[in-house]
Amino acid sequence: MIPIEESAYDVLKQYIDSLRRYFANEEGRDEIINDIEGRIAELFGEVLKKGSTCITDEDVNAIIASMGRPEDFDDDEAKVQSQLGGEKKQQQSSYASAGSEYAYTGAPHTRFYRDERNKVVAGVCSGIANYFGIDPLVVRILFVIFAFGFGFGFITYLVLWVAVPSSASTVIGSPKKRLFRDPENKLIAGVCSGLARYFGINVWIPRVLFLIPFISITFRWMHWGDVDFPNFLRFAFSPGSLLLYIILWLVFPEAQSTSDKLEMKGEKVDLNTIKTTIQQDMEGFKERAEHFGKEVGAKAKEFGEQFGNRSKQFGTEAGYVVRRTGSGVGDVLGLIVKIFVYFILGTILFFVVAGLFIAGVALTGLMPNKDFLIGSGWENLFAWGTLILFIWVPVAGIITWIVRRIAKMRSNARTIRFTFVALWLVGLFCFVGLISSLFADFKYRNHAVEQSVAITTPNVKKLEIKGIFPAVDDDNYWFHLQPFASIDGDTAYVRNTAIRLTFSNNDSFQVYIRKFANGPTREKANEEASKISFQFRQKDSSLYINNFVGFTMKDKFRNQLIEITIAIPKNGRIKVDESAAGWGNDEHFDFGRNWDYYSYNEYNDERKYFDFSRGIEYKMSADGTKLERTDGVKDDNENNNDNTQSDNNNVQSDTSVYHYKSNGEKPEKKERPEKAEKPERPSKTKKDTIPAKQAKVEIKTINAIPATFAQRFTI
C-alpha cells in the first residue's frame, strides 16, 4: 500500500485513464498498462524512501512528465534535447496549456525545505519563512540578531544549511548537493575539501578555521585592546574544532562512486554526467600512465582493462543511480583506526621535528663556547658540519616537505629530496668525524700522582671543607650551565672535583690531591693535567678549596678532574659542605679512564675510603675503621672499599706545581722504587708529612654558596 494524497490520486487516475484510451486498440493493452503502473509504483517507492510520508501532486506530475503523456508517445523524439533537464522543461512548458499544474510550483509548504530559488546565502531563512508562512525578511532580521547577539546563530545557520534539504530535491532527478568528504583533494581526510565543495568556498577557508586553534589556542582569552572576539569566532578557535573535525570525519562518507562525486559537486547525477566524469578519470589515468613512461602496448592493455572495469562500473551505477548506500559499522571502525594511526604518526613526526629543532637551538646556543672543547682545523670543520648539515638540514627538510604537501607543490620533488638527503649524509659524515676526533682527543688518561697539600690540624681536631667557585656573570648566555659550570670571559670553570675521606694513621689531618686529564697520548694527558691549578686556604678549622677546574679556549676541556683525599685522624671530626666538591650531591664526571691504570691503581690502593653525605658532621672512630655521624642518626653508608689501610702504592710523577707558600720548609722527598708497570717516566716521590706551621695562601675570590641545582638550571 502506498500512501497518496487524494488530489494526487486524482491526477494519477486521470493519467492512467488517458493511457487506457490511448492504448485502446493496442494489442496487449492491459499488459502495457500493468507495466506502466508497475513502473509508477516503483518510482513511488523511491519517493517514499527518500523521506516523504506520502505521494503528493508534485510527485505524481513529475512521474508523469518522466513517463510521458500519450499524445507524446509517437512524437517524443521531437522533444529530444541532449540533457534530461532540457527535455523536461520543454515538456512542462508545453503541458502548461493542458491546464494542469505540477512540478515547479514552488517548494512544498508542508515540509521544511531550504528555498534555493529565494535565497540570499543558502535559502535557510526563506525556507523557515515558507514553513511558517511569514516574510523571509523578518526571518533574516531575526537571524542576524541572534547570530551577533547570542553567538549561536551563525553555527545554527551552518547546521541548517547542511542538514535541511534544498527545495531542488523535491523534483525527481534534479541535481542535489550532498555533503561528502572529497578523497581526491584531501590533506588528511578530505573533510575540509568536502565542506568547501558543498558550500562553494575555497578549500583553504575551512582548513584555516580548523587549524587556527593549534596556532593560537589562547584566542579565547585574549583581547586585542578592547575588541572582544564575537562568539562564533570563539567557537571556531577553540580546540574543540579538532573534535568537530573527527566527528565530521566519522559521520560523512567519502565520495567514492562517480555518482557520489557528482552529488558532492552538486552536478546532476544522470548517466551523461557519470559518463563524463568517468571519462575524465580515465583521461587522468592515461596521462599518469604516460608520465611514468609505460610502453605503448602496456598502456593500451591497461587502458583496455580499465575500460572494461569502468564500463562494468558504469553498468552497475546505471542501475544504482537513485539508490544510496550508507556506510556500515565496519566502515566506521576502519575509520576510527585510520584516525588513530594518523594521529599517532602525526604526533611522532611532530616530536621528531621538535626534538631536532630543540637540539639544533641548544647546540647553536652553545656554539660560541664550542672552542672550549673543539680543536681547530678538522675538528672545527666537523663541528660546523655536524650542526648545520646533520641537525638543521633534517629540520628544514621536514618543514619543507610539510609545506609542499599542504600547498600541493609537486615540482622537483625528486631533486629536492635528493638534495636534502645528500646534505644530511654529508652532515652524518661530519658528525662521525667529529665524534671520532673528539674521542682521539680524550683517548688517554694521565697517570696522576698524589701530591699532598700542607694544612694544619686545628686543635679541636675538626675540619670543615668548603668549596670555592668563581663568581661569574652569565646573563649573556642562553643557557645557565650552573651549577656544574660557568663561563667567565674566556675561561670556563667546571666543578669537576671529587672528595674522598680516609683514615689518617698519624694524629693529624692530611690532604692529598690527584689531578687527572685526558689527551691523545699519555704525554699530552700528563701535560694537560699539569696545567690544572689548585688552590686552597685554611682558616682555623675551615678549609677552603677550589671547587672547579678552569680551562680556556687554548687549553681546552679535557675531562680535567681534581681528586682530593682527606685523611682523618682518629676521633677527628669532619664535615664536608655541599659546596665542597662536584655539584649537587658530589656529582662529578670522570670518563675515559684507562682501565689498565685505573684498575691497577685501585686494586693496589690499600686505603679505606668512607662513604659520606654532605653537610653532616662525622667522627672517625678510634680504631679508624668507622666513620660515624655525630648527630646520632644511623647511616647505612658503610664503607665501600675493602682495602685495609696502609701506605698507598700510587705511582708518582712530578707534574705539577703547588700554589702555596710554605714557610720555607721543604717537604721531604723519599725515593720510591719505580714500578715495572709504569715505565714512561722517571718518577720522584713526594710523600709529605704536614708541617706544623700554618700555610698562608692567597686566594683570588670567595664566592657565595650557589643555590641548588634545580633552581639554577634553566634554558
Binding site: E27, D35, D75, S82
Partner: protein, 130 residues
C-alpha cells in the same frame, strides 16, 4: 489538421523539421531497443537509461507498448524478478527469432548507413546513435 509537437492544433500543414527528425528517429528506435536487449537481460527502465545515455531519448510510455509488441511477436521473452524496492520487474531477453530479426535489421541499417554516407558530404554524418 496536423498535430504538431508543441501542442498546438494547426489547420495548415507545416513542414516542421522536428517532425522529420522524429520520423528518422522512430525508424531506428526498434533496432536500437533490440540491440540493447541483445547485449543482455534488461528491464525497461534500464533500456530508457541506456538510450538516454546514448543521447537517444525516449519515453517509457513509448517503450512499454513497443516491448509488448515485440514480445507478442515472439522476438522477446521476459521473466519476472522480485525486487525489494518495489513491485517485481520484467527482465527481457531476446529469442532466437528475435536474433534473426535483429540480424536482418542490422544488415538493413548498414546498407542505409553506407548509402547515406555515400550520398552526403564527408563532413556531414547523420547522427542518430553513437
Amino acid at each position: 489538421m496536423y498535430f504538431v509537437p508543441d501542442g498546438r492544433l494547426q489547420k495548415t500543414p507545416v513542414m516542421d523539421i522536428q517532425n522529420t527528425q522524429s520520423q528518422m528517429r522512430k525508424g531506428v528506435l526498434e533496432f536500437c531497443i533490440l540491440s540493447i536487449i541483445r547485449q543482455g537481460e534488461v528491464y525497461p527502465s534500464d533500456i530508457v537509461e541506456k538510450m538516454r545515455s546514448a543521447n537517444l531519448h525516449t519515453l517509457e510510455g513509448t517503450l512499454y507498448p513497443l516491448l509488448t509488441r515485440l514480445k507478442n511477436a515472439g522476438l522477446l521473452t521476459y521473466r519476472w524478478v522480485e525486487s525489494n524496492s518495489g513491485p517485481p520487474r520484467k527482465y527481457f531477453v531476446m529469442t532466437e527469432a528475435g536474433l534473426e530479426f535483429y540480424g536482418e535489421l542490422e544488415r538493413t541499417w548498414n546498407e542505409l548507413a553506407d548509402a547515406v554516407k555515400a550520398l552526403t558530404a564527408p563532413s556531414q554524418e547523420t547522427k542518430t546513435t553513437e
